[in-house]
């Protein structure tokens, strides 16, 4: 610890406590609200006299949470593995093989890095309609694979571009072909960045709202976040139930965060620095 005056120590810590309270109080407020009797109108932050833990079960039922969990999981399962394979191959070709025209390819992908999704949501709707996938989970998954691709390719490229040349040279002495060089040597070495990318893409797909809202009408075929919007529409007046439903929907992300905490923080930060 740095030598600081007692006064600075106290005021600094007080400041940090205020920031932490600002972050945590909203979570506490929806928790206590969720425990009030369904249909009542509690005030901000009061512990109920008779906590209604049953609200969570009720919200779970009325929002069809088991279906939603399944639906979100299916979308993540469609988006993440394909994105990882496709982006790793491209990152390898651009970052390590340096195919002719690699710079041009990267330049094309740069556009996608800062693209607001609402910029192309209208044509995506008509595209999904023409492909006959509107209102299916494919309508969410396929555009997401495309939209996350620029980030994913840049992410993997950064890893492969930093690989020491000796690794490839050693393999070439063995006479390994390009596919073997990729699959046997470089993919195993790239496991950590692939894992981090997988974690990021899972969170982003799970939390995706706009694409789900527009391309799939039935909330039960959407992502968790997409369904939450519909849930809010139905239960806007029943605040305790709405809060219980919100907690159920954000709980998986919080658990995921606690489990993979170090990975997630590091990945999100590195991701943005690269982007």
């Amino acid at each position: 610890m740095i030598q600081v005056s007692r006064r600075e120590l106290h005021s600094g810590r007080a400041f940090l406590l205020v920031l932490m309270a600002f972050t945590v109080l909203p979570f506490l407020s929806i928790l206590t609200t969720a425990l009030h009797p369904s249909g009542s109108l509690p005030s901000g932050l009061t512990w109920p006299s008779n906590p209604q833990w049953g609200n969570f079960a009720e919200a779970f039922d009325v929002a069809n949470m088991s279906t939603l969990l399944m639906s979100s999981t299916l979308i993540v399962v469609m988006v993440v593995p394909i994105s990882l394979v496709v982006a790793t191959m491209a990152g390898f070709a651009v970052g390590l093989l340096r195919v002719p025209g690699a710079r041009w390819v990267l330049l094309l992908f740069v556009f996608g890095l800062t693209l607001p999704f609402e910029g192309i949501i209208t044509p995506l709707y008509f595209l999904a309609r023409d492909l006959g996938i509107l209102n299916t989970r494919l309508a969410i998954a396929l555009p997401l694979i495309g939209l996350y691709m620029p980030f994913a390719v840049f992410w993997m490229r950064a890893h492969f571009a930093a690989m020491p040349a000796e690794v490839s040279e050693a393999a070439e002495v063995d006479g390994a072909g390009i596919w073997n060089l990729f699959w046997r040597i470089h993919v195993p070495l790239a496991r950590p960045p692939i894992a981090s990318l997988g974690i990021l893409l899972s969170i982003w797909s799970w939390n995706q709202f706009l694409i789900a809202l527009v391309l799939v009408e039935d909330p039960e075929q959407r992502t968790m976040a997409g369904a939450l919007g519909a849930f809010q529409g139905h239960y806007a007046t029943d605040i305790p139930l709405l809060c219980a439903g919100t907690i159920i929907i954000l709980l998986p992300t919080l658990i995921f965060f606690v489990v993979f905490q170090r990975h997630i923080v590091a990945a999100l930060l590195r991701g943005s620095v690269k982007g």
């Binding site: 600081v4 109108l41 070709a93 607001p116 044509p123 495309g146 070439e172």
Partner: protein
């Protein structure tokens, strides 16, 4: 960091080109092709179509009529649409300037008074809102900012019950209130990113500042801010994009209301394209917002590139 990466990369390339040749280039392109294909199909082609739609009047069903630039003129003339662009610019203050400024102060305070485990706890807690769906953040704050919500309860607690109101339903306060949600979501991200950057600043610089008798603020100005120019640029880029491209939070917290007080381009595009069936107008607004992102983000990128 970047320079070592670059020199390594330079060493990597000759070995590859040596074995190179046409077969290698062919195989490389085969590996790139799936990524390019899915990107072209679901991003580039829709991007071109947005521009194309913006030149037509079209309701999405019957045949489209060519109208040239008139949709763009309509966006500029319609107070609701140009107003949405201004709203998103005002959101930059809350989504970007406040979290970056507050995050900078928080990071430097954490470094000085909360090292070790306390610092880790502070970082983890502040980061929590970043991982939950933005929709959930919108619903949580929709409740907190309502008439019987926590904010008003706290205000009455300190004797300010008189200023209490339904914040998100108030014409003057709705936009700052939505901005508040952005502060909550983005503060932890900025703090943690800047803290990571600070760990890369030469410790001797802090030491020198200390010997010179620099207090917290002098250290911030002389050591921290110059050392964090790159990270500050990244924070600004990410948060500015999240302000200009805001949709989820606004959609669930206010739906753009009251009136159009919190309508942002994302909301207006959604309403125009999918509720009012004015595809051409929606697309013209979409082109505006994509250009705006580039116009704001490119100078920030440029500044930070020069810095590093």
């Amino acid at each position: 960091m970047t320079s070592t990466r670059r020199s390594r990369a330079r060493r990597a390339s000759p070995s590859v080109s040596r074995v190179g040749g046409r077969r290698r280039a062919f195989a490389g392109w085969l590996l790139v092709l799936p990524a390019l294909g899915v990107y072209a199909m679901f991003v580039l082609q829709p991007l071109v179509r947005t521009v194309k739609y913006s030149l037509y009047r079209w309701n999405g069903v019957s045949s489209a009529t060519w109208v040239g630039m008139s949709n763009y003129r309509d966006v500029l003339d319609d107070p609701d649409l140009i107003g949405a662009i201004f709203n998103s610019l005002r959101l930059i203050v809350f989504f970007s300037l406040v979290p970056v400024g507050l995050g900078l102060v928080a990071a430097s305070v954490i470094r000085r008074v909360a090292t070790g485990r306390v610092g880790t706890i502070v970082r983890t807690v502040l980061f929590l809102p970043q991982v939950i769906p933005l929709v959930a953040a919108g619903i949580i704050w929709g409740w907190l900012l309502s008439r019987s919500g926590l904010i008003n309860q706290m205000l009455s607690g300190v004797g300010l019950g008189g200023v209490g109101r339904a914040w998100l339903g108030d014409f003057d306060w709705a936009l700052p209130a939505v901005g508040m949600i952005g502060v909550w979501v983005l503060l932890g991200f900025c703090t943690v990113l800047l803290l990571t950057g600070m760990s890369k600043i030469e410790p001797s610089l802090f030491e020198a500042a200390r010997i010179d008798g620099a207090g917290w603020f002098a250290e911030l100005r002389a050591v921290v801010v110059p050392g964090l120019r790159y990270e500050l640029g990244v924070c600004l880029t990410v948060t500015v994009i999240s302000a200009l491209a805001a949709f989820d939070i606004v959609y669930v917290a206010t739906g753009g209301g009251p009136g159009n007080a919190t309508a942002v381009p994302g909301i207006q595009i959604y309403i125009l394209a999918f509720l009012e069936r004015q595809v051409g107008l929606a697309s013209a607004l979409a082109v505006f917002i994509m250009l705006l992102v580039l116009i704001v983000v490119l100078p920030i990128q440029r500044l930070t590139r020069e810095a590093s």
